[in-house]
């Protein structure tokens, strides 16, 4: 039987060679200057340009993921309340499709729809006399990326929230009503507090997702916006200058941001009351 453990050998070797060692490679070369250990690259990342990039990336990721989490919660909540299984299936399928469609094709779809000569842009101009370009909307800038990010973060939020929202007991709501409370009191006192861990977890995952988004912003904005993943990408296939050490330092910082926000997800999953609900024993926390 012990021999069976050999089955683990290839996969651990795989993880070591293709994930862990390369990651440590990034760590070590980010700390290696011309004369051994050095923080030069990290010092460089605190210069104005990179500081701005972190600020913009964080702000873009935070606003889009918070909005997507709230909107996704509303959608999941509405979906459960229609109690129409057909509709739920359609939305699940639609969300998965959109999530699979994300990346390059979605970016292209946005340029075709909301670019300067996009279908919707022209339609609004010609028929409703609304010039969104003149109003400051630019697909290659913050506003455009914000809208594009929402369109892959929202379905992701719906899919992440749906299991939690659908395990809210209908009796809790009914109990609220028979005890004299309104729908909004139900939301405030039960639904939101109970779902809070799952909302925070979802938010963590959405934020990490937005923060590491490369393809969408690369295609839509390219070098016209200062985002961390785009800068890292430029360090590799840079048209300007290849600076791997700086890229490594930026990567380490990005990994820290991602690690923190992902840990929210795992922490929140453990905290969830929805999972503790069935517990019978008195010593459960």
């Amino acid at each position: 039987m012990r021999l069976g453990r050999l089955l683990f050998l290839p996969i651990f070797a795989f993880l070591l060679i293709f994930a862990i060692i390369p990651a440590f490679g990034v760590l070590s070369s980010s700390l290696t200057g011309t004369h051994g250990l050095s923080f030069t690259f990290y010092r460089q990342t605190f210069s104005q340009q990179y500081y701005n990039a972190f600020w913009t990336t964080t702000w873009l990721s935070l606003t889009s993921s918070v909005l997507a989490a709230i909107w996704g919660f509303v959608i999941a909540f509405a979906l459960v309340r229609t109690s129409m299984t057909v509709l739920q299936r359609i939305i699940t399928a639609l969300s998965s499709t959109m999530a699979n469609f994300a990346g390059l094709p979605l970016a292209v779809a946005f340029m075709a729809t909301l670019g300067t000569s996009g279908i919707l842009t022209l339609f609004l101009q010609q028929y409703l006399h609304v010039d969104i370009v003149a109003m400051g909307f630019n697909l290659a800038a913050f506003s455009g990326l914000f809208v594009a990010y929402l369109s892959f973060l929202t379905p992701l939020a719906v899919i992440l929230m749906l299991p939690a929202v659908s395990s809210l007991h209908q009796e809790w709501e009914e109990a609220m009503y028979t005890l004299g409370a309104s729908f909004f009191l139900y939301l405030r006192k039960v639904a939101v507090p109970v779902l809070l861990p799952s909302m925070i977890g979802t938010l963590g995952l959405l934020f990490a997702n937005a923060f590491s988004t490369y393809v969408t912003s690369y295609e839509l904005a390219g070098s016209s916006i200062n985002l961390v993943p785009i800068l890292i990408g430029y360090m590799v296939n840079g048209n300007v200058s290849m600076n791997l050490g700086l890229g490594d330092a930026l990567s380490m910082e990005e990994m820290i941001v991602l690690g923190v926000s992902i840990s929210f997800y795992f922490f929140a999953q453990r905290k969830s009351l929805l999972h503790a609900r069935e517990g019978r024993s008195a010593n459960a926390t």
Binding site: M1, G4, R5, P10, I11, F14, F18, A19, I20, P22, A23, V26, V74, I75, A78, R81, T82, I91, T92, A93, S95, S96, M98, N100, F101, G103, L104, P105, V108, A109, M111, A112, T113, L114, I119, L120, L150, S151, F152, T154, V158, I159, P163, A208, S212, Y214, V215, T216, E219, P229, I232, G233, N237, L244, D248, S251, M255, L258, G259, I262
Partner: protein, 269 residues
């Protein structure tokens, strides 16, 4: 009391949000200054480099799927039955991909694999490994889900109590039992392979044409053909998603479907 109409309005707006870029894209791809045209699709299908990038994408995705199945299935199965602790370690480690996004991994690969004995950067050799790495957590979850819901251990014990050898139980009982999980996991890995752009671009420098690389180049040169290409990517996504959902429908495990679909997401971005 249940305010169903509010729910329906909310869902309507969500569908609108999802569908508008898709409709825009479709109109864009068939619009020739107000006239209907399919020329962009025609150009696409007669372009030999489109066909070769399609073949490249299919090939690399299939290789990734085979690699994932061979590499990941046996330890999960064995771990679930006999060494849950090592399995837990493996599960935790598979989440490393969440902190190693495409750009970071690309940067790491370019450095680590540029010197002998692993001078692999610049060739597509690294891609199946990268796609396997990205697909691993989703593949693992879908096989584990299946293991949990099919009482694999019970059937294994039953088969052996009836005198079957381990190997025979594995081939005749366990593999058929796990097949749906393997299938769904494979589709997830396959769709990652078909859509991945970042690693491909960073490690091959664009020298290896896959569908996404072709799309990126093509849209810059000829937006119409690029849009047509994106429509095809959408169709591929629809086919893959309906395959996974179809597999679930037959098994009537909706809860599980929601669970795995959540893993089908979040790649590609």
């Amino acid at each position: 009391m249940r305010r169903k109409w509010i729910s329906k309005i909310v869902i309507f707006f969500f569908i609108l949000q999802m569908v508008i870029p898709v409709i825009g894209l479709m109109i864009f791809s068939i619009d020739n200054e107000g006239l209907f045209t399919l020329s962009s699709y025609q150009t696409l299908f007669t372009d030999p480099s489109f066909l070769s990038s399609l073949m490249n994408s299919l090939g690399i995705s299939l290789v990734s799927v085979v690699l994932t199945i061979l590499l990941v299935t046996p330890p999960i199965w064995y771990g679930y039955l006999y060494s849950p602790r090592i399995l837990r370690v493996l599960e935790a480690m598979s989440f490393i991909t969440f902190v190693l996004p495409g750009v970071v991994l690309g940067l790491a690969y370019v450095q680590f694999f540029s010197n002998p004995p692993f001078a692999l950067a610049g060739t597509p050799t690294l891609l199946p490994f990268a796609f396997t790495l990205f697909g691993m957590p989703y593949y693992m979850q879908s096989v584990l889900n299946r293991l949990r819901h099919s009482e694999a251990k019970l059937y294994h014990d039953v088969a052996r109590s009836l005198g079957s050898s381990n190997l025979r139980s594995l081939l005749r009982v366990q593999v058929p039992l796990l097949a749906p999980g393997i299938l769904i996991g494979s589709i997830l890995v396959f769709s990652i392979g078909m859509g991945e752009f970042t690693i491909t671009q960073l490690t091959t420098g664009g020298s290896f044409m896959t569908l996404p690389i072709y799309l990126q180049v093509d849209f810059q040169n000829n937006p119409l053909a690029g849009a047509a290409m994106a429509v095809i990517a959408l169709l591929i996504a629809i086919v893959l998603v309906s395959l996974t959902l179809g597999t679930f429908r037959r098994r009537k495990k909706r809860r599980e479907a929601i669970h795995v679909n959540h893993s089908s997401v979040e790649q590609a971005v």
